[in-house]
Amino acid sequence: MEADWRRIDIDAFDPESGRLTAADLVPPYETTVTLQELQPRMNQLRSLATSGDSLGAVQLLTTDPPYSADAPTKEQYFKSVLEALTQVRQADIGNVIKNLSDSQRDVLVKYLYKGMSVPQGQKQGGVLLAWLERITQVSGVTPIVHYISDRRTV
């Protein structure tokens, strides 16, 4: 009995108390991005990646990412991001990262961790880890700390 006081539901009889829900943690976005609005961006990303402009592709995908989109849209968008990331040659990774700004590296790390959390990304785990290794060599733990604490998810 004595040890159990932490398990007492102190909100049980307090209708005003209200627990924090997942929705409370969503940042206050002003608008939401739809899949339709993202389509041109995804096409552009694809064409940049296939034409071999890896820096252009990574700069595009790390600039102004669709934070406010809903989960299925983010899923769709992430597919094209992953495609673009895997098309960059290993030897180019270091160079691409060198040409990114700090905020772009933050976004890139978000996509890397996102990739590690979904099956299609886990198949490309080696590539994602190679990216992460290079980023941490350049920026240290800063982008990872940002990723952990940021509620704007990709």
């Binding site: 102190i10 909100d11 307090d14 108390s17 924090l20 409370d24 943690l25 940042p27 206050p28 290993q90 030897a91 270091g94 700090d102 080696g126 880890l129 190679a130 290794e133 060599q137 920026s139 240290g140 733990v141 800063t142 990872i144 700390v145 940002h146 604490s149 940021d150 509620r151 704007r152």
Partner: protein, 384 residues
């Protein structure tokens, strides 16, 4: 025992006081009295120059961990605790303290407490998504607590009063830094906020402004004469805001978050946190930037060694474009050959995270020394 095990000149004194984390500490106005939290007690020390602090009172009335302590300009100590209460400790002439319980009317832990500049009211932050502003009512001989609830969504971590004693900045785990009005009728006068750039009317509990940071906010502090607020967050940033311009943000050079900050002057801030040593930031024409580390063990042999090792590995990888797996394997092999993992010994004065910084000495409006407390049970005084 007052000693310094650091070669760095910025460390003035190190007091290893207790064997538990010190979550909060405070010096009295004349720096002769030091109060620290230690588990469920608040320990009060007498401090004089160049001698170790002498314990002279133990404030024992809380029955759960004390989370914060503050001393008013009149020498009254206020403590708040996870037991959901606050006590005001009135100093008596014989060196003891007379406790008065303050009923905060909250159902979760109290996390932070701070006296208003005039010393007649204080604010308590809590996990109950409430800020309790407490003041003394003579008629009832009782500390009254008034609540600020909306629109707080989560635990309040930190509070700071504006010098006018009305505006109250608060940061918490919902990722918002907010400015509320803590105006108490009969205690505060409207003249104190006349002409304030933050608004015209300041009824109690009114939300004046809010900023979204998105990560836990660990500490917030007003720079009243500039009408600016600085706060540190768990994403490792120091941020400075005012009533009109957008947030100015700067990253911690080591990436680890700060737990506390102190304004040194109008254009300098010192921060301390998980990197265990204070870091000075300064404002230049292009914005806020890192200025210098205090008490940091650099040119340490082992860290230089690992750094060069990394550099070798980096260039090696570029030449051979080897995959991650092979480089990881090689790393383990190298470690195996060396037969040791790391000799990187922490040489800063704090051996664990700094949780609170406070101004200690001041001359000509400039803070010259700050004190800190840490999870290692030490109080350290640094020269800026």
């Amino acid at each position: 025992m007052s000693f310094s095990n650091s070669k760095d000149k910025s460390v003035v004194a190190v007091y290893k006081l207790v064997k538990a984390p010190i979550y909060s500490h405070c010096f009295s106005q004349d720096k002769s009295i030091l109060a620290v939290t230690c588990e469920t007690d608040c320990l009060v020390y007498r401090v004089s120059n160049n001698t170790p602090p002498v314990l002279f009172a133990t404030l024992k009335d809380h029955d759960k961990t004390i989370t914060a302590v503050d001393i008013s300009i009149h020498g009254r100590i206020v403590t708040c605790s996870q037991d959901r209460n606050a006590y005001v400790w009135e100093p008596l002439s014989d060196g003891t303290y007379k406790p008065t319980l303050v009923l905060l009317r909250i159902n979760r832990a109290a996390t932070s407490v701070t006296w208003a500049p005039n010393g007649y009211k204080f604010a308590v932050g809590s996990s109950a998504r409430i800020i309790a502003v407490c003041y003394y009512e003579h008629e009832n001989n009782w500390w009254v607590s008034k609540h600020i609830k909306k629109p707080i969504k989560s635990t309040i971590n930190c509070l700071s009063w504006h010098a006018n004693g009305v505006l109250l900045a608060a940061g918490g785990t919902d990722g918002f830094m907010r400015v509320f009005s803590g105006f108490i009728k009969g205690l505060d006068s409207k003249e104190s906020v006349a002409g304030s750039p933050w608004g015209q009317k300041f009824p109690f509990g009114c939300l004046i402004r809010e900023w979204y940071q998105g990560s836990y906010i660990h500490d917030v502090e007003w720079r009243s004469q500039m009408e600016r607020i600085a706060y540190v967050a768990h994403d490792g940033t120091l941020n400075v805001v005012d009533y009109q311009s957008p947030v100015q943000s700067v990253n911690a050079p080591e990436g680890l978050p700060y737990r506390s900050l102190v304004w040194i002057n109008d254009h300098e801030i010192v921060c301390g946190g998980y990197s265990c040593h204070p870091v000075l930031f300064s404002e230049a024409s292009e914005g806020w930037k890192f200025a210098k580390n205090l008490d940091k063990s650099d040119n340490n042999k082992s860290s230089a060694l690992t750094a060069s090792g990394n550099a070798d590995e980096l260039s090696g990888n570029n030449d051979e474009s080897s995959t991650f797996g092979i480089s990881a394997l090689r790393k383990f092999k190298e470690l195996d050959l060396k037969g040791k993992v790391s000799t990187d010994v922490q040489e800063s004065a704090h051996e664990n995270a700094i949780v609170e910084l406070r101004p200690f000495a001041e001359s000509n409006g400039q803070i010259t020394q700050v004190s800190s407390c840490g999870l290692d049970g030490k109080i350290v005084i640094y020269t800026i």
